[in-house]
C-alpha cells in the first residue's frame, strides 16, 4: 500500500540544535495517525517541516507521490494538506464567513477570483455554506472570528482548514482546553471525516483521546523517534513509559 505522506530520515538542525533527528514516518490513506511525546520533543517542528514553514536539513518529505521537501508552503498546502495551529491563527479582521471563503482552492479561471464572489463563484459560496452548517457556525456568520469564544475559534480554524479540500488534515493539539463533551464531539467528527476519505495526522497530549482515536502512533523524544505502533503497542512500550514518567532507577 502506498502511503499518503512519507517522511524519510528527516532532520532539522537550527544552529547547533538538532530539533529533529532522522525521523521517518508514514501516514496511510484514510487513517488517523498520532504524534505524541513530551514537551519540546519536536512535534510542532515536525509539522512545520511537513508544511514547508521550515526546510528539512536532511531527508525527504513525499506527499501523494510528489517529493515536496523544497516546495514553498503555499504549494505544499495546495497539494492537499491543511493544518490547524497550537495557538489559533485566525485572520484578525475577518468574519467567520470570510474565513470559510478565503482558503478555498482556485477552481478554473481567474475571473472567478476577481469578481464579486456571491455571483462569480457559486461553488465556493456553497462550500462555505456547507462548512458553516457542518460546524454549526451559522449564528456567528458575520461575527469577527477573533471575538468568539476559544471553542468556537477552534471550530472556525478547523472549518477553514476543511474548506481547502485537503487529503491530509494536520491538527496541532486539537483538544487542548476542551472539556470532555467538546473533545468527544471532535473525536466523532474526526472519525466521520476519516470515514469520508480524509487522512488525519495529529499532535496531542491528551492520552485517552489519542488512544481511542488513532490507528497508529509515533512517539517523539528529543527530536528522535522513540517508538511507533498501534496505541496498545505504544502504551506498553517501556521506553515510552520511561520518557514520559522518567526513569525510576538510579544510574
Amino acid at each position: 500500500m502506498t502511503h499518503l505522506l512519507t517522511l524519510d530520515n528527516v532532520s532539522k538542525i537550527f544552529g547547533g540544535i538538532r530539533a529533529l533527528s532522522n525521523v521517518s514516518l508514514s501516514v496511510p490513506p484514510d487513517r488517523i495517525v498520532g504524534v505524541i511525546g513530551p514537551n519540546g520533543a519536536g512535534k510542532t517542528t515536525l509539522f512545520n517541516v511537513i508544511t514547508g514553514a521550515y526546510r528539512a536539513t536532511e531527508g525527504n518529505v513525499v506527499f501523494d507521490g510528489k517529493e515536496m521537501t523544497q516546495w514553498p508552503s503555499h504549494r505544499i498546502m495546495r497539494a492537499g494538506i491543511a493544518r490547524t495551529f497550537q495557538n489559533i491563527r485566525l485572520f484578525g479582521s475577518m468574519t467567520v464567513w470570510e474565513h470559510l471563503l478565503v482558503a478555498q482552492p482556485h477552481q478554473g479561471n481567474m475571473l472567478r477570483l476577481v469578481l464579486p464572489a456571491r455571483f462569480a463563484d457559486p461553488v465556493a459560496w456553497r462550500r462555505a455554506e456547507e462548512a458553516l452548517d457542518i460546524f454549526g457556525l451559522g449564528a456567528y456568520r458575520d461575527t469577527v472570528a477573533r471575538t468568539l469564544s476559544y471553542g468556537l475559534q477552534r471550530k472556525v480554524e478547523m472549518a477553514r482548514a476543511l474548506t481547502t479540500g485537503p487529503k491530509l488534515l494536520m491538527l496541532d493539539e486539537p483538544v487542548a482546553g476542551m472539556n470532555h463533551d467538546e473533545a468527544e464531539e471532535l473525536r466523532l467528527l474526526l472519525l466521520r471525516l476519516q470515514g469520508q476519505g480524509l487522512s488525519i495526522l495529529l499532535i496531542e497530549h491528551d492520552m485517552p483521546f489519542v488512544m481511542r482515536l488513532c490507528h497508529q502512533l509515533y512517539v517523539l523524544n528529543f527530536g528522535s523517534l522513540l517508538a511507533e505502533g498501534t496505541p496498545a503497542e505504544v502504551r506498553s512500550n517501556p521506553a515510552v513509559l520511561d520518557a514520559y514518567l522518567g526513569s525510576e532507577t538510579a544510574c
Partner: protein, 278 residues
C-alpha cells in the same frame, strides 16, 4: 453651471481619490507605501510625453501610462518582499524621491523646467475615470482575491499555510496600486497642463496616505471621503487666513485621536445602508 473654482476643486477630489486608492490597494496587503507620488509621476510623464511629443489621444496615453507604471510597480514589489513594516515604508519613500530626482535630470521631458503642452481635459472626463476605478475597487473588495489580500495583511504566515501565494499577491498589489497612481498622474497632468518633478515628491505621497487613513483605511470609499476632506477642509478654513494650515494640523490630530480607523469603516457603512449582514 458651477464656477471654475469649484470645478477645479471637484477635479482635485477626483484626482486625489485615485491617489488615495493607490495607497489603499497596496495597504490592503499590509504594505505601507510612502512613494506612490513616484508612480503618479511616472504616469504623468509617460502620458504627457505620449500626448505632447507623439500626439496620442489622452485615453490610450493614460492606459499605456498605467501599464508602464504597473510594470515598475511589480519590479518594485520584488525587493519589497524582503522588507517589512517601517523599513518597507522608508524604501518606498526612497523610491519616490528617486523617481522625482530622475525626472529632474531627464531632459526629454523638461527636467527641472517642467513639461507643458498637454491637451486639457474636462472635469467630467476626470470623473469618468475616477468613478470607474472607484467602482472597480468596490467590486474587487467583494471578490475572493480581496479576501486573500486581507489574509496576507492579517497574518502572512497563516495565509501561506492555507495555500495562498503571498508573493504573487503582494507584488500584484504593488502593480495594481502603481497603475491607479499612474492614471491619477496622467489626469493631473492633463488637468493642469503643466507638470514638474516637484509635483510628485514626498508631499504628494504623504497626501495620498493621509487621505486614505483619514477617510477610512479599511474601505475603498474611504479614499473618496479622505480626498473630499483634504481638498475641501483647507478651503473651508480659509477664513482663518494665516492660521488655516495650523488649524488643519490640529483637526488632523483630533481625527486621528478620536477615530483611528478613519472616518469610514465597514460597521459604519453597514449602518448607513441599513444592512445587517455582509
Amino acid at each position: 453651471m458651477i464656477s471654475t473654482y469649484y470645478a477645479g476643486l471637484f477635479a482635485d477630489v477626483g484626482i486625489l481619490t485615485l491617489g488615495a486608492l493607490s495607497v489603499y490597494i497596496i495597504l490592503a496587503t499590509g504594505q505601507l507605501s510612502l512613494g506612490n507620488g513616484g508612480f503618479m509621476g511616472i504616469g504623468a510623464y509617460v502620458a504627457s510625453y505620449l500626448t505632447v511629443a507623439l500626439h496620442w489621444p489622452v485615453t490610450p496615453a493614460l492606459l499605456v501610462a498605467g501599464l508602464v507604471a504597473a510594470v515598475v510597480g511589480v519590479i518594485v514589489g520584488f525587493p519589497a518582499l524582503r522588507l517589512k513594516g517601517i523599513y518597507l515604508a522608508i524604501a518606498t519613500l526612497g523610491f519616490g524621491e528617486m523617481v522625482r530626482s530622475f525626472f529632474l535630470v531627464f531632459e526629454p521631458t523638461g527636467g527641472s523646467g517642467g513639461y507643458r503642452g498637454m491637451p486639457h481635459i474636462s472635469i467630467s472626463y476626470i470623473w469618468v475615470w475616477a468613478g470607474a476605478i472607484v467602482l472597480l475597487v468596490l467590486a474587487l473588495e467583494r471578490s475572493r482575491l480581496w479576501l486573500e489580500m486581507r489574509a496576507v495583511h492579517d497574518d502572512e504566515t497563516a495565509a501561506n499555510l492555507v495555500g495562498l501565494n503571498t508573493t504573487v499577491i503582494k507584488i500584484g498589489a504593488f502593480g495594481l496600486g502603481a497603475a491607479v497612481a499612474a492614471i491619477c498622474g496622467g489626469l493631473f497632468a492633463h488637468q493642469y497642463v503643466y507638470i514638474e518633478p516637484g509635483n510628485f515628491g514626498f508631499d504628494r505621497s504623504i497626501d495620498f496616505v493621509l487621505a486614505i487613513i483619514l477617510g477610512g483605511s479599511t474601505v475603498g470609499l474611504g479614499a473618496l471621503v479622505g480626498a473630499l476632506l483634504l481638498v475641501l477642509v483647507p478651503e473651508w478654513l480659509r477664513f482663518l487666513v494665516d492660521w488655516r494650515l495650523a488649524a488643519f494640523g490640529v483637526l488632523l490630530i483630533l481625527v486621528l485621536l478620536t477615530r483611528r480607523q478613519g472616518i469610514l469603516d465597514r460597521t459604519l457603512i453597514m449602518r448607513l445602508t441599513f444592512r445587517k449582514t455582509a
